[in-house]
Symmetry: C2
Subunit: 354 residues, 2 copies
């Protein structure tokens, strides 16, 4: 309309008050520079005069410019995003780990995407990995406490690191928690034995969680080291209900129980109370996790504290080292805070037999 010969679609585009967010081209036009110069300023490249840099920054601020990550990812082939496969669970352990991972990831300048698996679904982990790959991630953290024995297909060059045991992944890709679980379990068991208890029973977690098996193994071997043959463990599912059931079935001669987690310990204590056994006078109980409420239970629970933050940071460090283009994270002291026993009132020396 304004000019007799329509010079093509470009004229239309400029005439149209586009709804699309401003791009580098718009910033460049406003600042009177080329799009490439805007790119240089945005990416902090060298060889841009201070004068132009400021002009560009002003123009970008004025337009509310935000670099388009899709376009950037398209050309670089990098997403600056890491994915996490996690069991969808509001349990204290997994939830804490996830929060810690998000913090560490964003601090490293990467964005963070979770894919939750659904327990019991056979290919859940592989599906979650595929979903993350389809979304575009530069690396994947397996924060999956369940080891279902499946192998992972090749992930098309995207590095994968597992927080904890995982089959089908080479050794160096497996990051074990900072403090050794076995040591913590031994500490708990020895704490009980040193108080005079002659035997320690165990309420385990579900056996397809490697974490549960690790705690069970730690308990069993700690007993054997003292020459004690461990009794058959109760098998639970992390739930208070499982602890409750174990508490009802606990033999009368038992005086000390090590639970795979705090919730289970809560259920156990409940069952013991109902059957007229007092904690810790009659039975000593140790938990695992140190949930916030642990110190305020009746009685306050002796338990093993974990440092999820340290584990998350460590795992992410290992992963980022494998991601090309990720600034190598400064090597911080890798000695993650070990798991350690927190002694409270749910354990006591074996009293005189009534």
């Amino acid at each position: 309309m304004t000019s007799p010969d329509t010079p093509g679609p470009a004229a239309f585009a400029s005439a149209d008050a586009r709804r699309r967010p401003p791009g580098m081209t718009d910033v460049a036009q406003l600042a009177g520079v080329s799009q490439k110069t805007v790119s240089r300023v945005v990416n902090n490249e060298r060889y841009v005069s201070e004068e132009l840099r400021e002009k560009v920054l002003r123009a970008a601020a004025e337009l509310g410019f935000r670099p388009n990550t899709a376009a950037r990812a398209l050309i670089t082939g990098r997403f600056r995003r890491i994915g996490v496969v996690s069991l969808g669970s509001a349990l204290f352990g997994p939830a804490s780990l996830l929060v810690a991972l998000e913090r560490a990831t964003r601090a490293a300048g990467f964005s963070f995407m979770v894919a939750n698996t659904i327990e019991g679904q056979p290919d859940a982990i592989q599906d979650a990995v595929d979903w993350l790959l389809a979304q575009g991630v530069d690396g994947i953290i397996l924060s999956e406490p369940i080891d279902e024995g499946q192998r992972l297909r090749a992930a098309s060059g995207v590095p994968i690191v597992s927080l904890g045991h995982a089959r089908g992944l080479p050794e160096e890709r497996v990051v074990l928690a900072g403090g050794r679980t076995a040591e913590a379990c031994r500490e708990a068991v020895e704490h009980l034995l040193d108080m005079g208890h002659e035997q320690v029973w165990h309420v385990a977690g579900p056996q397809h969680w490697w974490d549960a098996r690790e705690r069970q193994d730690g308990w069993a071997s700690a007993l054997r080291e003292r020459g004690i043959e461990p009794p058959p463990p109760f098998t639970g599912d992390w739930s208070p209900a499982a602890g409750y059931a174990a508490g009802q079935a606990l033999p009368p001669e038992a005086t000390a129980v090590f639970c795979a987690n705090d919730d289970t310990a809560i259920g156990l204590v409940r069952a013991l109370n109902e059957t007229g056994r007092r904690v810790p006078e009659d039975v000593s109980v140790v938990g695992f996790d140190d949930i916030p409420a642990a110190a305020y239970l009746s009685p306050p629970l002796t338990t093993v504290r974990q440092d999820f933050e340290a584990d998350a940071i460590h795992g992410l460090d290992v992963l980022l080292r494998l991601v090309p283009g990720a600034a190598a994270p400064e090597t911080r002291p890798k000695a993650a805070a070990p798991r350690r026993l927190v002694v409270r009132a749910s354990t006591a020396p074996l009293g005189p037999v009534l």
Copy 2:
């Protein structure tokens, strides 16, 4: 080398065994069709013969083709991704909500990105929103229990929905939880009054959480409806420690306490036990949340159960309705399961005064 006249960079590219993942062009070449046809097959568009469709699918499978979301987002301007701003917390409530949101989001075909805020940081919410916008999202859910009174800047056309109260957001963007909190609180208070208690004390959550204020208001107005002037509430921070402190300061004449959450109730019970007051014989206690351990505490805790899954699905539905290009979610019954009181053993009729 193979041909005397190098026809340009394209020849080089084809000669080079590229490390880049296969694209539609590669699939098209293998299937003997045009790249556009591959696009049609992948997107399930009409007007592709069954014969070609199968050929393309075979070729795509053979190459392990995955559509590049970055390129797609670049041209469509849509990301098929929704972002969630959440307080980074492993508390049972927020964690449950997040898990439910992830499930619902992925089920709707959208990917899911969380940005955690850090409590106490003044512009935390705005920063998290900006981060999500920079990453590219089609909509944002504010699952932020803290209302810090800040207004949100315009989010450049991206719809925002808040799960719970939020200033600076128009009414229709605020999704309140399915069951009314006030009703649940009234139910809890009346449960106690009906058992003969003449007064109900309250241990509140932190006042900058709207959730805490809502529960406190519900408690106060329920008392006033019965003509009882509520006593000054204790103010906590959701932690067991706060409940413990309240329990120590609880006046001797108090016989019933309504706590803002279960953890606080746990701390309260602990303090009461230590000062020689039994629950529920001397003091009845009601919690809020129904954490998994609630039924197994000593005594089992009377509390208010929440349905996070329903709240999450409802909130996401509202958001997706505002997102252009999102298939309108089938209108499921919006009557989310209300919060309801679960009566257990921590509450009992007021006994004879000793």
